[in-house]
Amino acid sequence: MTFAVPPATDAEPYDVAVIGAGVVGCAVARELSIRGARTVLIEARSDIGDATSKANTAILHTGFDAKPGTLESRLVARGYTLLSAYAARAGIPVEVPGALLIAWDQEQLDELPVLAARAEANGYRRTRQIGADELYAREPHLGPGALGALEVPDEGIICPWTTSLAFATEAVRHGAALRLESPVTGVSIGDDVTVVETATGPVATRLVVNAAGLGSDLVHAMVGLEGFTITPRRGELIVFDKLARTMVNHVLLPVPTKMGKGVLVAPTVYGNIMLGPTSENLDDRTATGSSEDGLAFLRSHGRRIMPDLLAEEATTIYAGLRAASEHDDYQISVHPQLRYACAGGIRSTGLTSSLAIAEYLAESMTEALGLSLKPMVHPDADPQPPRMPNIGEATLRPYADAARVAADPAYGEIVCFCERTTLGEIRDALHSDVPPRTVEGLRRRTRATMGRCQGFFCGAKIRQLLTAPDSSTMAPTARNNEGTK
C-alpha cells in the first residue's frame, strides 16, 4: 500500500491544505500536487467523494443551458473539454448519448429557440430543434403528448465515483497527503503559517483552499469571512433496473425552471436508468434521506415522461444535497492577506467543471497568493494519469474479458452477481492507492452490492472480504493489478 497517513503535526508546513475531498477538492489537490506543491487533502468523512460528489445525476454537461456570462458558464464549458479528455486517458467511464430537451406544451415549445439562443451565447453551437415524429422515432418509449425537442448531441454521462477517485489517486501518487476522518474545526492564520485544526490534530500549511461543499460557508467563516450562506437543496432520485436500459436512448431533459434543471430520465454508465432529481430547499445539511413526497413526485413525473419505465423494478433510491447559496454563481474567490482561496457553493454542475475549477484556482493562486507552480504540461505529454479500473458498461468489464480471466482466474470469479464484480476487482480496490474503508466505499470502486438484489446474494460475502480478506486469494498480483501499479 502506498497510502500513508501523514503524522499528526508535520514539522514543515505544507504549501497548501485543501479542505474537503469532494470532486472539487480532489481535482484541486491533483492539479496542485502535479504542479509541485506540497499538498494535504483534509476530509471529514471516511472516504473521498463521499458527500454530494457521490450522489448526483452524473451528467457531463456541455453547459448549453448555463446563465451566460457567469463563471459557472465558463468553467462548465471548459470543464467539459478537460474532463472528456482526461476521462478517456484515465479510463473513467463516459458515454455521450446526447440529450433531448423535451417540450410537453406550447409554452415549452416556444422556449426551445430561446434555449438554443442561450446555448449560442454560452459558446455551444450544435443544438438543433426536432419535431415530434423524429423525437418519437428516437425515443419510442416516451409517454404521449410531447411536441418536439431541442437536441444537444454532446451531453454525456460519466461515472462520478471513478472521477473523484482518479483525481485523488493521481494526487496521492504525486505526493499529496490524504487525511480522512478529520473534520476541520478551526483555522488560525499566522504570519507565515496557517494552522488548520482538525479532529485528528492540527495541520500546518502556508495556504488554504476551501472546497468544503455543503460546509464551505462554515469554513469561510472560520477564516473570518462572510458573503454567502449554503442552503442544502435536496435532489432525490430513483434508479431503475438494468432491464430498463434499452428503453432510453438519450438524456431526456425537461425545459428548465427557476428552481433548477427539473426532472430528467437518463441512462447511467452502469447500465441503469435514473429518474430525478427533485429540488427542495432544506435546513439540515446532513438530510440525505429520501422522502415519501419526493418519491411520489418522481413517480408522477416518471409516469408522464415514460410510463413503461415505472413498470420496471427500482434498484435503488437516493438523495444528494446541492450546495446552493443566495448567489447565482459559484463562490470562487482568492484572499491574499489570508493566504486563502475559496471554491464553495458549487451546486449543480461541479462534477463537470471540477478540472476547470482546479485550473482556474491554480492560476489565481499563482497570481494572487504567490504560489509557485510548475506549468501543467500539455495534456498529451504529461505523465500518464492513473489507469482506473473500468466499472462502466460501454467497455469490456473484467468478467467478460477472456484474456484477462485466462491470465488471472480471480477475474473469472464473480462475487457480486447482479453487477458482475469479480474477486480480482475487489482485491485490486483493497490494495489501491486510496483504498475503501467501508462496504459503501468498496461499492463505489467496484459496483459490488449496488445491483438489483442489494446484497441478498453477496452482501455478507462482501462484508467478509472487506473486514477479513483471506490473504491467499486477496494478495495483489503485480501482473494484473493494472489499477494500482
Binding site: T288, L295, V405, G412, R420, C453, Q454, F456
Partner: protein, 422 residues
Amino acid sequence: MTSTGPVDTDVAIIGAGPAGLAAAIALREAGVAGVTVLEREAVAGGIPRHCHHTGYGIRDLHRFMSGPRYAQRYVARATAAGARVLTSTMVTGWTADGGMWLTSPTGRRELHASAVLLATGARERPRTARMVPGDRGAGVFTTGQLQQSVYLFGQPVGTRALVVGAEHVSYSAVMTLRHAGVDVVGMVTDRPHHQSYAAFALATRVALRVPLHTDTRVVEVQGRPRVTGVVVEDIRTGHRRTIACDTVVFTGDWIPDHELARARGLVMDPGTLGPAVDADAATEIDGLFAAGNVCHPVETADVAALSGRAAGHAIAGWLADRRRAARRAGVPIEVDESFAWVHPQRASTTADLPRNKIILRPRVFASSAPVRVMQADRCLWEGQVRHLVPTRPASIPTGWLARVDPAGTPVRIESATRGTHQ
C-alpha cells in the same frame, strides 16, 4: 431449438438449487447422457445452503431435515447420478446463436446445449425496490443476506430488529435473529393476518413474545450511520408511530431471478414476473424450459424440487421425440381477481399430464372457496379449495387439462370467494 450449431452437452441447467439438481437427477435417470448444471455460487445447493433450520424435504424426500443437509443430499445425488455440476460458473448472457456465455475462474467461454433449463430461483425484494424512503443507515437486511451473515460468516447483526413481513420466510428470519442473539421487537405485515402456519405464528407471538402488527405498512427507515427506528402506519386509521430498532429485515415479497429469461426474449407472466410455461415446463422458445422458483415465486424447496423433477422428465421426453413436441402453442390459462397468478400458464395439447398440481396464488384469505375452471361456457373442473392465504400456494388437480379444447379460447380459473381482500 436453443443452439443452432454443434452442442457441448445435451442439457444445460442454469442453477443448482433444489429445482435444477432434481431436474438433473431425473434427466440422468431417464438416460440422458450429457447433463451439465451451471451454478454461480462456489457451493451448489441453492438457497437451502444457508437456511440452518429444519423443515426441508417433506414432499420430495419424505423426511425432515435442515436446509444445508438437504442441499448436500441433492448435490451428492446429482453427482452420483452422473450430472456434471460446475460451481463458480455464472451464465452471464446468451450468444447470438442461442448458446450461453459462461464466466468462471477456469475461463470465459461459450456453452451450447440441445435443451436449456432455467432454474435460477427467486430473491426477496430489498428495501430500495420497495421504495421505502428515509435514511440509508446500516442495519437493513433481506432474510437471504441475514442468514448468510449469521450462518455462513458469523457476522454481528445488531441488537433490536424489526421484521417486515409475516410469511413463512419472515418466521425463518425471526429464528435466525434469535439464533444470533438479536431481540426481535416485532413483525409487521400490511395484510390483515399473518400468512404462515398457525403453529409458527402462535409460537412466535406467545413463546418468543414477538408482537405481530397486522394492517401495518412501513413508511420510513430512520437513522444514520445506523438505523434507529422504523416509522409504521396503521393502514386502517392512518396513525403513524416509530418502532425503535437498529436492524430491519425485509422478508419475502419475492421476485424471480428472470434476468436471463428476459435477456433471451421470453415474455414474462404479469403475475409471477417469471417466464410463462406449460405443464411440461416449456417456454415459448422450443428447447428452452423453466422450473422452480423462477416460475413460481416462491414455493417451499420440496415443491421447487418436484417442479424440477417434472421438468427433467419432460425435457427427456422432448429430447427423445423432438418433432412431436416441436409444434405446440398451448391454450393460455388465466385467473380472475381472486388470484395473483397461476402456474403453469399454458395448457399444451401434447404435454403429458403433469405429476405436479396446478399452483394458484390467492389474493384473499378464505378457509374454503369454490373454484371453477372454465373454457368459454364449458366447465372443465369444479371444486372447493381450502386454506386460501396470500403468498401461499393453493392447488387444484390437473385431470381437466386433458379436456382443454386446443383450438378453444383461453382457460379461466374463477372463484366466487368472499374472502378478506388485500
